[in-house]
Structures are given as structure tokens and as C-alpha cells.
Amino acid sequence: MFQKFLKDIKKYSRYAAYSAKAKLKSEVANSYLNWLWWILEPLAFMLIYTLIFGVVFNAREPYFPVFIFIGLTMWNFFNKTMLQSVRIVKNNKAIVSKVYLPKYILSLVQIGVNGFKMCVSMVIVLGMLVFYKVPVNGNALYAVPILITFVLITFGASCFLLHYGVFIEDLTNVTNIVLRLIFYLTGIFYDVMKRIPAPYNAVVGKCNPIAFLLSSMRQCVLYGKTPGRKLLLAWFVFSLLLCMLGVRKIYKNENSYVKVI
């Protein structure tokens, strides 16, 4: 299976890249402010949350706007990819019913699109780090393995949603609810470790991979601390496993998708 996967990735990676690029282009082609939206949207949301939680609820995290911005950036990537995955086969019916392609390629295209937006936001984060004069040290380099793990987990999970989304009609509703729950358990605008009472904070902070990866990211970039390396490695292994199982599931079943949609 692994060889087949490599072969398919090689064969379809150009397609996925071109498709993601064309999608990004078409997304902005008809809007007024064009690609500026990729910057404006996350910035606007950051302002809203900073206002609500920084001023109204009086949050005390240092560098609060950057804190929120990192959270939002990563969350948006995860959230959008998950939601799109559920209906992705149906939405691409026109292609899927005309030509064979490994169905997880559809997922990869979405990850490419959302990932590009995440990268734009990450560049803004860099700008903010300079603007707020955040003292950054070598630990910030942990951002790279954290992001890799994060993308892998997203891909693995999206494979499963893609598969079940074909067969279960109302999976969208359930996904919405579960995602909202994860949203609040991830601490986009608060620190899970500080706000949730012990011992639950450790449970949420370590067993929810999104919360863990997100807070690790903040720890290493904003506060110059070393993230939990063992746990990071564990989640990395887990995400690889998840991807493998997800891809295997799709390979096993993908040819019956067309019969259902």
C-alpha cells in the first residue's frame, strides 16, 4: 500500500498543486479586494476577539493579540479542512464520476488551499512578533515540527471524514457540533492550562491534540519555552498512524463511492 501511495502522490501531486492554485485564484478573482482578504479576514477576527476577550473579559495573557492570532490561524485551517472534507466527494461528483483519482487527493487540494492561507497568516504572525517586540529565542524553531504534526493530523482526520461523509448524509451536522466542542476545548482565546481547573486542564491540554499543538506553538514562539517534546513525538507518531489508516480506508472503499453519490 505504501508503494502505491508514493506512486499516486507522485502521479497526482502536480494535479493537486495546480488545482489548489486555480482554486485560490478563482476564490479571489471575483471579489473586490482580491487577495487582500487573505490578510484582512484573520486580522479582523483577531481584532474582534482581542476586543471581546481582552477588554470585556479582561484576559491577561501577555501579547494577547498575537496569542489569539496564532490560535485563530491554526484553528481556521483545521476547522475549514474538516468541514470541507465531509462533503468533498459529493462536491466533486463531476470529477469523481468521470475519471479515477485517489480520493484523498481531493483532501490534499483543500489542505493546499487552506494551508496557503495559513502560511499567509503565519507571515503576519512574524510581523506581529516584530511589532509587539516579542523576545523570540531558539525554541521558536519547534514551530516547524509542531506544524508538520498539525497538518498530518488534519490530513489523517480528513480522510476518515471524507470516507464516512459519503455514506452518512447528516454527518455535516454532527461534525459541526463536534468541531464547536473542540473549539472550546482548544482554548483559542484563553489558556487551557490556566482557565480550566486542575486536574482537567492537563487532560484537555494533553489529550486533545489540537489544544496541545496550539498551546505548544504559543509556548515556543511567544514565550520562548520548550514544548513537551515526548508528547509532541507521541502525537507525531499518532498522526502518522492516523494518516496511514485513513489512506488505507480510502483505498479499500473509494471505488464504491461513485455508486452511492
Binding site: R14, Y15, Y18, S19, A22, K23, K25, S26, E27, A29, N30, N92, K93, A94, I95, V96, S97, K98, V99, Y100, L101, F167, I168, E169, D170, L171, V174, N255, S256, V258, K259, V260
Partner: protein
């Protein structure tokens, strides 16, 4: 000269079973598992197509023609049996080819071409030819959702007709567009089909088309092959059967 087979199908069975959509509400409310309906669309057929041969498939609606064609294109996997394409590239041409509605015609040409197994450069080399053949003019840089249905199928036809694959599977699309384009596409199709290196499988209800173009005709009935042989013989029998 030794005949080389381009497609070899052995004991092909395709069924639609167990794959009913479900919802969480349904599965909660029903304690008994729904009995899986097993509809066998293709019941163990075997046939082969020689290289350069043109095979026509005829049969009444729901006899498994399109299912067979989809299986040949690799979109359905056979439940049992083997489809051997001997390493040939294959493209399926049918009504309303898959376009991404938000993207421009030009981008869709490249995407479709890449899915057919061509590289970006190869597609780009044929791009102008495709655009010219499709007669879309300036619309080629507009999102496909703005196209009329005629333009849509003209573009679809042009892509498959000009990006040539070894095996072409054609599902009822010998007539797209207006009268003029119809003539043109028919002519193009004929010249494509009569290329000795190209293997073609056509599904059609048009008796004239089949008689004129095909070397062999296969008559499918309820998922089985009723008769396979020279066009005239098979079609006469088919017409007699249908008129009964």
C-alpha cells in the same frame, strides 16, 4: 499479423449492494439492520477488444452498458472478475464532463488533461487547438459556471477529442452543440475513431452511428451479453427483438 488485444474483460461482475446512504437518525431508529439490496448490474460478462477495433455496445436502458463503460474507465471497481487494459491510457467521454464550476475554461482544460494522465506542458501544447476547436472565443477565460450548456459540452468534447488517449470510451455524445458543431464533431470523431491505433468503445442507441462506425457490436441485456458479432447481424436481431 498477430492480433493484439487492447482490452480484455473476464467474468466481470458489478453490483450495487450495501452501499445505501444512511443517516444517523435512520440508524438510530431502526434496530434491525436494513436488508442490503443487492442489485447486480453486470452479471459476469467476458469479452475482449482488439487494438484499433471499434466496439459498439447497445441495449435497452438499465442493461448495464454505462456501468461496464465506467468499470473500463476505472471509476467502478469490479466486484469480481478482471479488467485488463494492457497498460493503455483511457479516457471516458460522456455528457457533462467534470469541470470545476468556479474556474475558468482554460484552467479546466489543464486540470482535465492532467487527470487524463498528461503533463501540464503536454496539455499547454494542445491548449490553443482545444480552444479553437471548442469555438469558445473569449469565454475561455471566464468561469465555467457562466457557460451555456452547449458551450459546456463543446469544451468537454474538444478536450477529450484533442488530447488523444489510446482507448476512448464514448457514452452517447456524438451529438453536442448546434447543427454545425454537431457535423464538425461527428467528422472529428470519425477521423479519431478510424485511426488504426485507437481502440474505441461506444455506447449508443443510434443504430446508424453504430452501423457506420463499428467493427463489432455487443448487445447487452439485463447485465449479460446477448449477442456479440458483426454490426449488421447483431443490430438486425436487436431491432427485431425490441419491436416485438
Amino acid at each position: 499479423m498477430e492480433e493484439r488485444k487492447a482490452i480484455e474483460v473476464t467474468d466481470l461482475v458489478i453490483s450495487y449492494k450495501n452501499f445505501k446512504k444512511t443517516s444517523i437518525k435512520k440508524s438510530l431508529l431502526q434496530f434491525k439492520r436494513q436488508k442490503a439490496e443487492n442489485f447486480v448490474a453486470v452479471k459476469g460478462i467476458s469479452f475482449y477488444v482488439r487494438e484499433g477495433e471499434i466496439l459498439g455496445i447497445i441495449g435497452k436502458n438499465g442493461s448495464g452498458k454505462s456501468t461496464t463503460l465506467n468499470a473500463l474507465a476505472g471509476i467502478f471497481s469490479p466486484d469480481s472478475g478482471v479488467i485488463d487494459l494492457k497498460g493503455h491510457s483511457v479516457s471516458l467521454l460522456s455528457i457533462g464532463v467534470g469541470f470545476q464550476k468556479e474556474m475558468t475554461g482554460r484552467e479546466n482544460i489543464v486540470l482535465s488533461g492532467m487527470l487524463l494522465g498528461f503533463s501540464e506542458a503536454e496539455v499547454k501544447a494542445h491548449e490553443e487547438e482545444i480552444i479553437r476547436f471548442a469555438e469558445l472565443g473569449d469565454f475561455i477565460d471566464m468561469p465555467v459556471r457562466t457557460y451555456s450548456s452547449g458551450m459546456y459540452s463543446k469544451l468537454a468534447f474538444s478536450i477529450t477529442a484533442i488530447l488523444e488517449t489510446d482507448i476512448m470510451l464514448i457514452d452517447e455524445v456524438l451529438s453536442v452543440g448546434d447543427q454545425r458543431f454537431k457535423k464538425k464533431s461527428y467528422k472529428k470523431m470519425k477521423s479519431l475513431i478510424s485511426n488504426k491505433d485507437r481502440t474505441v468503445v461506444i455506447v449508443s442507441h443510434n443504430l446508424n452511428t453504430l452501423t457506420e462506425l463499428c467493427d463489432t457490436v455487443m448487445w447487452m441485456h439485463d447485465g449479460e451479453i446477448k449477442k456479440i458479432g458483426p454490426p449488421k447481424e447483431v443490430l438486425d436481431e436487436y431491432v427485431a427483438y425490441m419491436d416485438k
